[in-house]
């Protein structure tokens, strides 16, 4: 993507970064590591494809396109590896991942934290189930495990990343979870996960 802070010179062609860009994250060493994983994935796909049943001719074999896709991945991985090596992947010193360095980066630690909380939240919604009605006089407001667990998950994430007081985070989390659940439940007639 063109650098937003530095407008291009008059005769300079725009740098084509594609729809999603992302090259800023890719070093030759990372590309070499990615190529190894992709090649392995391709080989596994090829092996599994050959083990699939062939009820009719080879032309209609269920494993045909998966095999070709796996082979394609291996070829592409070789191309990526060659490019990475030409870019100096083997000369930049150690290419093995360094967990100590990885955990030293704040962004990585935060990502891991978000991933862990989201996974725990998803597991909890799957495992815990309850629903009861809160009598409000004119009608009963349902409250299920989904709202409770969503409130808890949002509270934890907001407390960590937003940094406001627990009460403030809890109010925002509860109001949003209740509103979201009831919009889906009553507005769109969609069953919520964990609900009856």
């Amino acid at each position: 993507m063109a650098d937003p802070k530095s407008p291009l010179a008059d005769d300079e062609p725009a740098h084509f970064a594609g729809e999603e860009g992302g090259e800023e994250n890719a070093t030759p060493a990372k590309n070499l590591a990615a190529a190894s994983v992709v090649a392995l994935l391709g080989i596994v796909a090829m092996v599994l494809s050959t083990q699939m049943l062939v009820p009719d001719t080879l032309a209609t074999a269920p494993g045909l396109l998966p095999f070709l896709t796996g082979a394609g991945l291996v070829l592409m991985a070789l191309g990526l590896a060659a490019k990475a090596i030409r870019g100096g992947a083997l000369h930049g010193g150690r290419t093995r991942p360094n967990p100590e360095h990885w955990f030293g980066v704040t962004e990585n630690r935060r990502t891991l934290l978000i991933g862990t909380i989201v996974f725990a939240y998803i597991m909890a919604v799957d495992a815990v189930w309850f629903e009861f009605d809160i009598p409000l006089g004119i009608f009963d407001l349902p409250f299920s495990s989904f709202e409770a667990l969503s409130t808890l998950a949002l509270l934890v994430i907001m407390k960590i990343f937003w940094g406001a007081s627990v009460l403030r985070c809890a109010i925002v989390a509860l109001l949003f979870s209740m509103a979201l659940a009831n919009v889906f439940r009553f507005g769109f007639g969609i069953l919520l996960p964990g609900a009856a």
């Binding site: 993507m1 063109a2 407008p7 291009l8 062609p13 725009a14 084509f16 970064a17 594609g18 729809e19 999603e20 860009g21 992302g22 090259e23 800023e24 890719a26 990372k30 590309n31 590591a33 990615a34 994935l41 796909a45 009820p55 009719d56 209609t60 269920p62 494993g63 045909l64 396109l65 998966p66 796996g70 394609g72 592409m76 991985a77 191309g79 990526l80 490019k83 990502t111 978000i114 991933g115 989201v118 998803i122 919604v125 799957d126 989904f146 969503s150 998950a153 949002l154 994430i157 907001m158 990343f161 937003w162 949003f176 979870s177 889906f184 507005g187 769109f188 069953l191 919520l192 996960p193």
Partner: protein, 488 residues
């Protein structure tokens, strides 16, 4: 038929739904970190509870609104709401700092309105041609078209390293093959797991890749809160628009064509149009480029909005989504058992006309609501991303669960989110993967059918299929271009 669709689209319910969609879209697009694709992916789940036309109207409203919405924060706080608003930010924010924020936003609104019109007109003109061509497609042609869609998406999405786009697409193909195969019912990559034998729905993958991945990416970074510049009066400057009318038309054409190419969306359209307009600008105008040029804003905003009509072209006529946002519309329609593609006019008569009318209505509403929502948006900018982004997590869970009412899909969404995050960290684009998951079954089934037809034929017989041979050349050229030109 068109009158029926017009009356349906103009009913109070539909107008209300469209207005709600456009409003939500503008607000969503204006918030930095919340992209159009993320909105569209999350809406699939919401649309499960809506009637087919209501869902379509709502999604098209959000799509139209959110593509423009990115311009608001780009001009006022120097942070693009959506990635395609970066050129608008480069040009619009200096204008806002000089006290011309209202004029800059007025130009962006009018340019978006024009862009939408160009996209819609070209879509209406080109769909019948594309449909009549598509009716000639047999298995061989459909296979090649699907593979071209994945390949070109890889090329367009990843810029200078098409290999990475293709790898992303090929991984998507492997995901698409999971489950029982359509012809013989043989399990593939399911490892005896019954849940995997049902196959992997692409909706949770779309939500995971464009919802959860983005949350993890953006929330983990420090998020600066912009201080809005003074807006002033928002007036679309007609004299400026007349002055740069040719730029607007050219940008509209670029935006529509780019939109019709799978994998290339509003980002490519706005950057390409911005670059071409800069090269073709008069010297006195070019001198303003980068310091606040109205012509530049027009070039970018017309292109990214024309992209909407363009992206609907292959989606409706061929069943191949023009970009990830169009893929979400495709998914929502599939949930209603509406299969788009060459047979759309026979199987779902009136649907295409409804899309035309819905986009026109959404465009008019976008014009009005954009002017009305600028000031509320300024207030929204004070909301930190650390509050907004976590709120999307429960929406990802409900969205992926609502499609099949199967909790396994939520785990698929989570896995897709993690895989998407890792791929993005390694510089791999995600759109080709989504496209491949959608097109994989189509490619697989049609390739095997074609091979069966060609079983006892010579290679000359295969090459004598004119459309197939043209497509084969196009696929070959796409790989050639990626390997020998861009991939150098």
């Amino acid at each position: 038929m068109i009158v029926d669709q017009l009356l349906l689209a103009l009913s109070p319910l539909m107008l209300g739904v469209c207005l709600a969609g456009v409003t939500l879209g503008i607000l969503w697009g204006a918030m930095p970190g919340l992209s159009t694709t993320m909105a569209m992916a999350l809406l699939i789940g919401l649309s499960a509870g809506m009637e087919q036309y209501v869902a379509l109207m709502f999604m098209l409203g959000v799509y139209t609104g959110s593509v423009f919405g990115g311009a608001i924060s780009a001009v006022l706080i120097n942070i693009p709401g959506t990635p395609d608003a970066v050129p608008t930010m480069i040009e619009g924010h200096p204008l806002a700092q000089r006290g011309e924020g209202g004029q800059a936003l007025g130009t962006a609104i009018a340019a978006s309105f024009i862009g939408n019109w160009v996209g819609i007109v070209l879509m209406i003109a080109l769909i019948p041609i594309l449909l009549s061509l598509a009716l000639e497609f047999r298995s061989w042609e459909m296979f090649l078209l699907s593979m071209w869609g994945i390949a070109i998406s890889g090329t367009m999405a990843s810029g200078e390293m098409p290999l990475k786009g293709w790898i992303s697409g090929w991984i998507g193909l492997l995901i698409a093959f999971v489950g029982l195969d359509d012809i013989h019912g043989v399990p593939r990559f399911s490892f005896g797991n019954e849940l995997l034998e049902d196959g992997i729905s692409y909706v949770p993958i779309l939500i995971g890749l464009f919802g959860l991945t983005e949350i993890m990416r953006v929330l983990s970074q420090d998020s600066p809160t912009g201080i809005p510049s003074k807006v002033g009066r928002v007036v679309p400057p007609m004299a400026t628009l007349r002055k740069f009318a040719w730029t607007a038309v050219r940008s509209g054409l670029i935006g529509t064509v780019i939109g019709a190419i799978p994998g290339a969306g509003a980002n490519v359209a706005s950057f390409l149009s911005y670059d071409i307009a800069r090269r073709r600008a008069k010297p006195e105008e070019r001198a303003k480029w980068g310091k606040g040029s109205y012509e530049a804003i027009i070039s970018a905003e017309v292109a990214n909005n024309a992209n909407i009509g363009g992206s609907m072209l292959p989606t409706l006529a061929l069943g191949i989504p023009g970009n990830a946002a169009a893929a979400a519309i495709l998914a929502a329609l599939e949930m209603k058992n509406v299969v788009v593609g060459p047979m759309i006019e026979f199987e779902n008569p009136g649907l295409i006309q409804f899309v035309y009318i819905a986009l026109i209505i959404a465009n008019f509403l976008m014009y009005g609501m954009a002017i009305a929502l600028i000031k509320p948006c300024v207030k929204l900018f004070s909301l930190p991303r650390t509050v907004l982004l976590p709120l999307i997590i429960p929406m990802c869970v409900i969205g992926s669960f609502a499609v099949n009412l199967n909790y396994f899909d939520v785990y698929v969404m989570f896995a897709a989110g993690i895989i998407g995050y890792i791929l993005r960290r390694f510089g791999f684009p995600l759109a080709p993967m989504v496209l491949a998951v959608i097109l994989g079954p189509l490619a697989d089934e049609n390739m095997r059918r074609a091979l069966l037809v060609f079983e006892d034929e010579t290679i000359w017989f295969v090459l004598k299929q004119p459309i197939g041979t043209i497509l084969l050349v196009v696929v070959t050229l796409t790989f050639y271009d990626g390997i020998f030109r861009r991939g150098r």
